[in-house]
């Protein structure tokens, strides 16, 4: 009896494959899914063209991805609907699974959300030079989970977006001009006004130093070995290395020509003799005097 029921159910199952209704349903569902995918693809292209002119590239990239994945979800839901699958049960199961996955993927989710904040806040853009902790380099891409940078010694570094949200990010090339601070220490017996005029003259002759904003000179403090002076030089941001190398050479050479001593930390040490040796020296001295 049970075998008859089993055979009957199997027969019923396979009989639907020979009915015209089944194939009509398949065809209709396929056409519906195809139309959904085509519609979302066209929408993606239209939105992409509209966003190219008005929105930064990373944000446009995210929006296009959202549209594409929404299309996939709608297509899948259409398929389930056509197959008569009860979505409410599926959604319930997905909710429970989502909680489990959420616990496991909380870092990734945090990175994605951090990435959205980075894209909307725009602390930096592709091509900017940024410094995060002790790492600095050129931003190559801003992605969902991480930012990729290329360091100056040609290493590839992946920084999770969550890290960028939590730490200080220095955008070195945000503004068109920067100031290079050069610290100089001169001996205490130096003529400070003469030092000031020499430093300004060195700055005016350097081809990378802007004469506006004007160079800044600050006499900072009387330090242990000499007087510290801050020389602040403004430059166009792409000339950092050229300026840094040339100005150090210029200052060093000019100070040497002008006889200005660059002070450095030094310590005078007096050797104290032992008591026995001091007494022996005294004896010798008194002996010599009496002779």
């Amino acid at each position: 009896m049970k075998t008859d029921v089993l055979f009957s159910n199997i027969g019923t199952f396979f009989s639907q494959f020979v009915s015209a209704d089944f194939y009509n349903k398949i065809l209709g569902t396929s056409i519906a899914i195809l139309l959904v995918l085509v519609a979302f693809s066209v929408l993606n292209r239209i939105v992409g063209k509209m966003l190219t002119a008005s929105v930064p590239q990373p944000r446009a990239f995210v929006i296009k991805k959202v549209i594409r994945y929404t299309g996939y979800v709608v297509a899948v839901m259409t398929l389930f609907n056509a197959l008569g699958v009860d979505l409410s049960a599926l959604l319930g199961a997905a909710g429970i699974a989502g909680i489990a996955v959420g616990f496991a993927a909380q870092t990734s989710v945090s990175n994605v959300i951090s990435g959205l904040f980075l894209i909307s806040e725009k602390p930096f853009q592709i091509g900017d030079v940024i410094q995060v902790g002790d790492v600095s380099g050129v931003v190559q891409s801003i992605d969902f989970l991480s930012v990729k940078i290329q360091t100056f010694d040609n290493r590839y570094i992946r920084i999770p977006n969550e890290t960028l949200i939590k730490t200080n990010v220095i955008n070195i090339t945000r503004f068109p001009i920067r100031r290079l601070d050069v610290w100089v220490s001169v001996a205490y017996n130096s003529d400070l006004e003469r030092v000031r005029s020499i430093l300004l003259d060195v700055a005016s002759k350097n081809p990378y130093v802007l004469d506006n904003p004007e160079p800044l000179i600050v006499f900072d403090k009387f330090d242990a070995s000499g007087i510290n002076i801050l020389l602040g030089l403004w430059f166009e941001k792409s000339e950092y290395l050229n300026l840094k190398n040339s100005i150090m050479v210029d200052i060093h050479r000019r100070f040497a020509e002008e006889g200005i001593k660059i002070s450095y930390p030094k310590m005078d040490i007096y050797m104290r003799q032992s008591l026995g040796k001091q007494l022996a020296d005294l004896d010798n001295r008194s002996g010599n005097e009496s002779n």
């Binding site: 068109p176 001009i177 802007l210 004469d211 506006n212 166009e236």
Partner: protein
């Protein structure tokens, strides 16, 4: 001095440029070119050429390879705006007008007749300077001169000045044939005073004319507007009858303002 000519083979030619120098030699399709930029503050009115010389001395020689028969040394405006500084500050009262005469060092190019550039060099090494705010602005070339205004009703100008900074240089520049001489007119059309300190000259739309070997640029007009802005325009009629040897961009003045943005209007005089 600025005309096309057919150089003899394997002969160095020199152009004297008021303290700077340019050299050229042709050998078949090989062109050798050299420049000595010179210093603006050390300029000496002495311009001429091309004249044959033995060798370019210590000038660094660069090479270009290509066919060409006739070549010329042609002046152009620099790739960056020029920045001039007014001595101390000049206050323009309402409805007043001040004129400044300035001599701009050109960007020199060796060009073939079809416009091909063999080499180029800025005459006189000028310091870079920033015109604008620390977060936006323009990189400019700074002229190391402090200018005095020329005003209506003045009896004497340069000769009677009392030894101000750069005046000696200024009087020498008037005789220099390698510099582009042009006038700036600043007009205060508002009811408020206008303090001038620094003026930027954007040369995109300006032409260069030649007469008797001297180079002249269009007159630059800067007008204040009632809403506190500034409007820059070019008066192309001053030298209309002279030979034109450089043509500025043909776009209208409105395009210059739109391209620069509103910040350009507010910072053109550094106020």
């Amino acid at each position: 001095m600025w005309n096309y000519f057919a150089p003899q083979e394997i002969t160095w030619y020199q152009w004297r440029l008021d303290g700077g120098r340019a050299f050229l030699r042709k050998n078949g399709e090989e062109w050798r070119l050299a420049f000595i930029a010179g210093s603006f503050l050390d300029l000496v009115p002495d311009a001429g050429g091309p004249e044959p010389v033995e060798h370019p001395g210590t000038a660094v020689v660069s090479f270009a390879v290509g066919k060409g028969k006739k070549v010329a040394l042609r002046p152009h405006y620099a790739n960056k705006p020029y920045l001039i500084t007014v001595r101390n500050e000049v206050r323009l009262l309402p409805r007043a007008e001040a004129r400044f005469t300035v001599a701009l060092p050109p960007l020199l190019r060796f060009e073939l007749e079809d416009g091909t550039v063999l080499a180029e060099k800025q005459l006189f090494n000028l310091s870079p300077t920033w015109f604008g705010d620390k977060d936006a602005g323009n990189l400019c070339l700074s002229l190391p001169l402090m200018l005095d205004p020329q005003c209506k009703g003045e009896i004497r100008t340069v000769e009677e000045t009392d030894g101000n900074t750069g005046v000696d240089t200024l009087s020498r520049t008037a005789e220099c044939k390698s510099l582009i001489h042009c006038d700036l007119v600043v007009r205060n059309s508002t009811k408020n005073e206008l303090d001038l300190k620094r003026l930027a000259i954007f040369t995109d739309l300006m032409n260069i004319y030649e007469e008797d070997g001297f180079l002249n640029g269009d007159t630059v007009l800067i007008d204040t507007t009632n809403d506190g802005g500034l409007r820059m325009s070019i008066d192309g009629g001053t030298h209309k009858n002279r030979k034109q040897i450089h043509t500025g961009n043909r776009s209208g003045i409105s395009e210059l303002l739109v391209r620069r943005g509103i910040n350009f209007l507010k910072v053109i005089t550094g106020i």
